[in-house]
């Protein structure tokens, strides 16, 4: 367990409890304390990974670039944009993207994209190369494949921060078997540095920190 939070992310007290927080406009009705807003790990896989003390390797700051796959309504990616620099948010479903657009409004370096994370060529003309982190939270089958396809965006010393949802691969199988398959496929392009189940914040999810293999 390390507790190296990125710059711009702090543990602060909200209503007597210590919680993760970033500075920015509130997005989903989260508690605020002046310019700080609480980051709810029960609604955010990356938040849970930080809460559980995983070493996500994010430094924070205006120079840090992030590609976020599966941005949904912008709950997590809004926090990322609060502490990082240019942040590309890819989401495929139209309905949540409408909310993502409003979350992005007050964040000048959060770029919303309606695109399919399984088809990186449809946004490679917009998303810059060598981003510092690819954060992935897509609820589709083939989550390892999505991570491999998007490795092209990642800097050599960048990090993949992946939340694997077992139920998206196969609801009937034991989550541990699903995770084993995902890890095996992921090994084609990544070295896993750390992994942890995201309970109690998210059932049947595995948080993975990985770095790209060369070549």
């Amino acid at each position: 367990m390390t507790d190296a939070l990125p710059d711009g992310v702090e543990r602060r007290r909200f209503d007597g409890a210590e919680r993760l927080a970033t500075r920015g406009e509130p997005v989903y009705g989260e508690p605020t304390d002046r310019e700080w807003r609480a980051w709810n790990p029960d609604r955010s896989k990356l938040g849970a990974m930080l809460e559980l003390g995983m070493d996500v390797g994010l430094a924070g700051g205006d120079e840090e670039t992030v590609l976020y796959l599966g941005a949904a309504s912008g709950t997590t990616v809004s926090h990322v944009a609060d502490f990082a620099g240019p942040t590309y948010a890819v989401e495929f479903a139209a309905r949540p993207t409408r909310d993502l657009l409003s979350a992005a409004e007050s964040r000048p370096r959060l770029f919303p994209l309606l695109a399919d994370a399984r088809k990186p060529e449809t946004y490679a003309h917009v998303v810059e190369a060598d981003v510092d982190a690819v954060v992935q939270d897509v609820a589709t089958r083939g989550q390892a494949r999505v991570a491999l396809e998007n490795r092209r965006f990642l800097a050599d010393d960048g990090r993949l921060l992946l939340a694997v949802k077992a139920r998206s691969e196969d609801v009937t199988r034991d989550p541990e078997d699903v995770f084993a398959d995902v890890r095996e496929e992921l090994a084609e392009g990544y070295e896993i540095l750390e992994q942890e189940r995201l309970e109690p914040h998210h059932a049947d999810h595995l948080g993975i920190v990985a770095r790209p293999l060369e070549g």
């Binding site: 949904a72 309504s73 240019p86 479903a93 139209a94 309905r95 949540p96 993207t97 409408r98 993502l100 657009l101 992005a104 409004e105 000048p108 370096r109 959060l110 770029f111 919303p112 994209l113 309606l114 060529e121 449809t122 490679a124 003309h125 917009v126 998303v127 810059e128 190369a129 060598d130 609820a139 589709t140 092209r152 965006f153 139920r167 998206s168 609801v171 009937t172």
Partner: protein, 298 residues
């Protein structure tokens, strides 16, 4: 540096810095095999004076592009589906009606008369200009058969379209109900949003409006199910428990419609929950067989 290879050019190469619309279009319609250091390349190409200005332009372009794409997708998809499934039903019904008429007419002159759409297809495919049908009506019968076969083909194409389109409009509902039933429910409710806002009791009897109003006027029992009757979980359950099954199916389908409308994220656990609930309901039959006369409703 400028790249002439369009397969590996940034969005800004097609965009005019002073024309936000062209920039949004370039974001939406462009593509590249590999990402590159776009901010630096854009500054080099003179698209922006510095990276800050580039990012400001990118922000404007991505926001406009995404807003336009969202509006288009949301406005179009469920309305298209409603029309497609209604057209499909109309084509099927009309093809069947005409096929009956055709079989009746054909029976007067054709010794090999068959029934239904199959007969229409067979007749339409016969070689030789309808000459093998005697009488002045032969050509007309043959021509009618061709129309029926075409109409049946159109119905099939429409069904394929609905099956392909529904999962993108309503992924959870399509998975739980099957794409065609899902589209029919959306059509009966008048749209996905409208379906998402209906209580599950209404979803349960969508398509059984006649029976429902007869019940409300006081001279009929309440209908147990509307179009969800065609769902395996309802039809495949014994009649005593069909009401419970219909209620369970309607409950999960309404949740699926709400998830599809308000979130759009696929939740496979809904499938498992419905399956589990139906198994419990069907297990009552086993219990009754064993105990001869178990207790009633849940």
């Amino acid at each position: 540096m400028t790249t002439t290879d369009p397969a590996n050019a940034g969005w800004f190469s097609e965009a005019d810095p002073d024309d936000p619309e062209s920039a949004a279009e370039a974001v939406r319609d462009g593509s590249a095999d590999e990402p590159r250091d776009w901010p630096a390349l854009a500054v080099e190409a003179g698209f922006a004076d510095d990276e800050d200005e580039y990012y400001d332009a990118l922000k404007e372009a991505t926001t406009a592009a995404t807003r336009a794409a969202v509006t288009e997708r949301e406005a179009a998809d469920d309305r298209q589906l409603v029309h497609a499934v209604r057209a499909m039903d109309d084509c099927e019904r009309t093809a069947n009606e005409l096929a009956e008429r055709l079989a009746e007419w054909g029976g007067t002159v054709d010794p090999d008369v068959g029934t239904g759409i199959d007969y229409a297809r067979e007749l339409a495919a016969r070689d030789g200009n309808g000459a093998d049908l005697p009488g002045d009506g032969g050509d007309r019968i043959r021509s009618l058969a061709e129309r029926v076969a075409d109409l049946a083909d159109e119905a099939e194409d429409l069904r394929e379209f609905v099956e392909r389109q529904t999962p993108t409009v309503a992924p959870n509902l399509a998975a739980l109900a099957g794409p065609v039933l899902a589209a029919r429910l959306i059509s009966l409710a008048g749209g996905l949003e409208e379906l998402a806002k209906k209580p599950s009791g209404t979803v349960q009897v969508l398509g059984a409006e006649d029976a429902l109003f007869a019940h409300l006027r006081g001279h009929a029992p309440s209908p147990k199910h509307g179009v969800i009757y065609v769902h395996d979980a309802v039809r495949g359950t014994r009649p005593e428990d069909r009401g419970s099954a219909a209620r369970a199916v309607a409950g999960k389908l309404s949740i699926a419609a709400r998830v599809d409308h308000y979130s759009g994220e696929r939740k496979p656990e809904l499938d498992a929950e419905l399956e589990e609930r139906i198994e419990t309901i069907r297990a009552r039959a086993d219990g009754d067989d064993a105990a001869t006369g178990g207790e009633g409703d849940d």
